[in-house]
Amino acid sequence: MNLQEEYMIGLAAKGTRLDKRGLADFRPVTIEKNPISKAEGSARVRMGNTEVIAGVKLDVGTPFPDKPDEGTLIVSAELSPIASPDFELGPPRENAIELSRVVDRGIRESGAIDAKKLCITPKEKVWTVFIDLQILNHDGNLIDACSLASIAALSYAVFPAYDGTRVDWFTKTTEKLPMTATPIAVTVHKIGRQPAYLLVDPTREEEDAATARLTVSTMDDGHVAALQKGEAEPFTLEEVEQAIQWSLAKGKELRALI
């Protein structure tokens, strides 16, 4: 453990942080609606100096054989080296894959999109929803920023025109995606080991010092839609319960911004 890390733990013991925030405080969060007019829907999320854009594109494809009457969802995140000296060129590595899978499952498994309403002709044609995440600046907490941008972009998206044969992306309709809920991911990070402290929305500096994290996705009705523990330090049951409580509270705040 280095000095900076020890100092952060010391602050956490007093309930505060390098930038004076409380442990359960987010940095200022803003959502810009549809900054990308070429996308069917898009959202730019800023959390402090972290900045991401989620873009939703729609296309017509074939359904999976085991779900012949449901549309499909593909979430991709590339950690483009434009956003951080830590990112490298090349195909997505395990961190980018975990990020996109956590975002994906938070939307997919919560049933936030009514996948059956994306079916055009069973077994033959369904809408495919692509969510692509572009990180513009990485200053920590990408899971929460990307999840928020994704669900916001979905809720802003409209279908392009489709005549039964070809999609005309140039002409957008006013029909919205069949959204049923607004799952929000909040990730609680742990710093220190014994004693350990929980905090939310870390900067990149805090994230580097964190020993573990737990992402909790919550729904409009207060239910939990997804959990994902990351990194190697264990959690106790009490810490999990604390994380869920914080996520419910913070999730409500973030949901209100969309």
């Binding site: 395990e94 975990e98 239910h223 939990v224 839609a225 997804a226 523990k229 999990v240 409580q245």
Partner: protein
């Protein structure tokens, strides 16, 4: 509540653990949980090459989870997928806290987990096998790691989901822990649950992990002829 396979809600599937199944490996184990079969092989600690990847203060643990193509109903394409990459990552994190990595600076411990038959709970079976394989390799550990996936069907918390229960459950929550301290080293969940249910399911799983732990210890005893 009656389960398809006749188990009680808090009962794990019939489980078989055999240590030392791969002669070439430094440690190995086969775990069968119902119809799911995982094989784990450990190689190391061995020098980590290329050298610039070495950690001077501790060893590095690398786990690779993969499904063998014939392990499922529909054949799995060989090679890593996004799913297997993520499971490899969370498996590494699930096992790492149990190992005294600080005793092996500059080395790497490789854990290969091959699922040769899949019927729910492959990541948890893989973690159970890997944990025994690490111990079989003689690597000093704080504790074993035990793992099980549980959920909620109807009003019941249900331990060790199998077969069609994965579709019937309101949520699928795999968990891993170090049983002696009940510290949770893996926690994932997809589904829809009120917060209080999460606690209930975790507690059920922690109890299930104790049973698995006993079988792991027994398998190691048998292997070491204790």
């Amino acid at each position: 509540m009656k389960r398809d396979d006749g188990r009680k809600v808090d009962e794990i599937r019939p489980m078989e653990i055999v240590a030392g199944v791969i002669k070439n490996a430094d440690g190995s184990a086969m775990v069968r949980m119902g119809r799911t079969v995982a094989v784990a092989g450990v190689y190391g600690p061995r020098e980590y090459l290329p050298k610039h990847k070495q950690r001077s203060d501790r060893g590095v643990l690398r786990c690779v989870y993969q499904m063998v193509p014939f392990s499922t109903d529909e054949r799995v394409r060989p090679g890593p997928s996004r799913r297997s990459t993520e499971i490899s990552l969370v498996t590494t994190h699930a096992l790492q806290p149990a190992i005294f990595l600080e005793e092996f600076p500059k080395t790497v411990i490789d854990v290969f987990i091959n699922i040769i038959q899949a019927d729910a709970g492959t990541r948890t079976a893989g973690i159970n096998a890997a944990s025994v394989a690490l111990a079989d390799a003689g690597i000093p550990m704080r504790d074993l790691v035990a793992s099980v996936a549980s959920g909620k069907i109807g009003d019941h918390y249900v331990l060790d989901l199998a077969g069609k229960e994965e579709e019937a459950t309101a949520a699928d929550m795999p968990i891993a822990c170090m049983p002696r301290t009940k510290k949770i080293t893996l926690l994932q969940m997809d589904g829809d649950l009120p917060p209080q249910d999460i606690k209930g399911i975790i507690q059920l799983s922690l109890q299930g992990c104790e049973k698995i732990y006993a079988l792991q210890v027994e398998a190691l005893r048998k292997r070491w002829k204790l």
